[in-house]
Symmetry: C2
Subunit: 410 residues, 2 copies
């Protein structure tokens, strides 16, 4: 007997989370065993409050193709942690909803926290002899999931950072006077996104000449030495830092900003790490300095998405459906890169319980000993992930994305 599938998106937006959704829907349509593919609006939280839609019935094939290249999260997202206690009434209520909708397959596209959701649901199902299969489809620009070569979303973020920092380097280099530009990039704990700024370099010694990740303790004295050395060699110095750099005591650098500064309304003005270091350099060196915080477009730029990332994200969605139909549950799709020869990717599955609540940090062997640059091994790892630009439909000069109509109430 055919069963229905349901899919949700969770956590922060990316440029390619909808490509994985596309993969789930397309493969769901392909599979004999699957009837409808439903979408939870705003993840498990929205689904519990009654919102979902029929993705197989409500979207045309043309709309699906638009979905594939639409950034952010078409279904809407949530940040909702399921109860730790599997005897919570939350679970039977949820499974009753599944039963009513004849759900046989559940897909959740997201990062660490989403894998925690898949873990809990699959464990609950196992205890209660439910036949519903639960599969996690990885997604995070942070690239911090374990047991996968990389995560869907990282390649596009890396491409955005590489191309955008290259533009900033050109912009910074137009005047004669010495100047320092600090670029603050995403990454509270893991430096993968910031590391990608090394891809902006065109030649050896090109900017950014200094790169600081959260994995290395930041030290103001060493920073002063690093900047002094950089200024002696370069008229234009571009420095890339993660938002989450912290010192040996674990104190975030942004916390060193004069947090007591109030505006005229008496509000505290919060300052980021980039702004903090900008002020530090201005005081210490007296050179022209500015800081730039690359913001949410790092994670959601449709215009600068990596075509490789899009295709791999579609694959992750498709493979998720195939895994579920083949009988697997409590697994996350993982990417396996061939060890030798040209870049080639295959998918496998891993135990979702071993993924959730763990973080894959940037490896120390891919940093130089001083903690101010990444090595060629990282460049070799990251370059294949940013290949290819997306050919997208435009309308009056602007990209066409798929917008959700009002949610269907169930």
């Amino acid at each position: 007997m055919k069963k229905n599938a349901i899919v949700g998106q969770s956590g922060g937006p990316t440029a390619v989370i909808n490509a994985s959704l596309y993969g789930v829907i397309r493969e769901g349509i392909n599979q004999e065993a699957i009837d409808h593919v439903y979408g939870m609006i705003n993840g498990i939280e929205g689904y519990m409050s009654g919102t979902c839609m029929d993705l197989t019935a409500d979207l045309t094939s043309d709309e699906l193709e638009l979905l594939k290249l639409t950034p952010a999260a078409y279904l809407g997202s949530c940040r909702y942690k399921l109860p730790e206690d599997l005897s919570s009434p939350f679970y039977p209520a949820l499974f009753e909803k599944f039963r009513k909708m004849n759900i046989g397959y559940f897909f959740y596209i997201g990062g660490n926290d989403s894998m925690d959701t898949v873990s809990k649901l699959s464990r609950y199902a196992s205890h209660h002899h439910s036949e519903i299969r639960f599969i996690g489809v990885p997604k995070t620009i942070d690239n911090d999931l374990v047991l996968t070569d990389h995560t869907p979303g990282y390649g596009s973020a890396a491409k955005y950072v590489a191309d955008t920092v290259r533009e900033i380097v050109l912009d910074s280099s137009v005047y004669q006077q010495k100047s320092i530009t600090i670029v603050e990039l995403m990454g509270r704990h893991a430096g993968w996104v910031t590391a990608a700024s090394a891809l902006a370099r065109k030649y050896k010694g090109d900017n950014p000449v200094l790169i600081y990740l959260p994995e290395t303790h930041f030290d103001f004295e060493q920073f002063t030495e690093d900047v002094t050395a950089a200024l002696s060699k370069n008229s234009t110095v571009v420095i890339c830092i993660s938002e989450g750099i912290s010192d040996a005591r674990g104190k975030f650098i942004c916390e060193y900003a004069d947090a007591a500064r109030l505006d005229t309304f008496g509000h505290k003005m919060l300052t980021g790490s980039g702004k903090m270091l900008e002020n530090f350099i201005r005081d210490k060196f007296g050179v022209k300095v500015r800081s730039i915080e690359l913001n949410v477009n790092q994670r959601c730029s449709g215009m600068m998405a990596s075509a490789t990332d899009i295709e791999e994200s579609v694959l992750a969605g498709r493979e998720g459906v195939k895994a579920a139909v083949s009988g697997l549950t409590g697994r996350m799709i993982s990417f396996i890169r061939n060890e030798n020869g040209p870049y080639h990717l295959e998918c496998g599955t891993v135990d979702v319980n071993e993924v959730c609540n763990r973080e894959k940090l940037f490896p120390s062997e891919w940093m130089n000993p001083r903690g101010t640059d990444v090595t060629q091994a990282f460049i070799d790892y990251a370059l294949p992930l940013i290949q290819g630009e997306v050919q997208r439909k435009t309308e009056s000069g602007r990209p066409v994305y798929l917008y959700r109509k009002s949610p269907v109430q169930k």
Copy 2:
């Protein structure tokens, strides 16, 4: 007898200032009357200190094609105001350099301040019976030059803002909870760049639902009413503001934060309007709020440049050379749009003295009476300028730009 030409770039970088440089070089090669085309490194300031290069001899045809699509300012730039007093020894020193290099044609690509340079040099030349012809080629993302339909650089900035804000709107809309996102855009006095955020909308009522330009006095009470109304209609509210919004007393909104500093020109550094309003909203409304400052990539994004802007910028450079060869001096190239029918552009020239030191502000008739949105007339004006994406050469997944080798000393 053949004469040489010299060209410089001045003021802030744009995505297309090199396209105009390309136009000058290509047309310089075309023209019988012109022998070499020299480039001043770092504008008139660098030239006075002895740095320039031979653009016709030093660049291959392939390199020229790369130059056309390279953002920022290939020759380097300067912010250098020529002496007001035309009897200053600066002028004979400069003209002696021109004489030694057999310069007959001088092109300066830039905005207001650069046109001031062209004005002074052409007036000095006139007083001293020099036959050198001085032509200004317009350039500024601010679109604030008078006597031209628009300026090269504006279309690309507008396209970047439209596409980037559309991504921010999608990113902002993924969660269920009410939220406000403030996007701070470039524009100290003129609101043209911020106005382009209206192009991000896909449908009537789409975000950004509020747009504030420097041309309208900002009022905190009215802002509170506007935000209240917007929140009652929309779960997700995106607000776009110019960095230079100010109140009826002329006080910049960012000055209500305490951190305003002066840059090396004594300009106030305007980096805080968005952050200021973020704090104001958090305090007043208690909703989830964040601010995003779109930074220098607004002006220098090669990846998201407008193909129309690139082509028009090339045209401006070419027309500058033609104008000089035809005998004109003390003129700026201007864009003339056909009044009726489909978008079509022709070039003319205008008196550079009437351009310099004036600003074309955003017209009040293109704002709604409340000063919170632009009209359809502006959309109709701006849309043709953002058409077309650039097909560029890539290398290992990254855009290939032309980098300058060490400057040639003369």
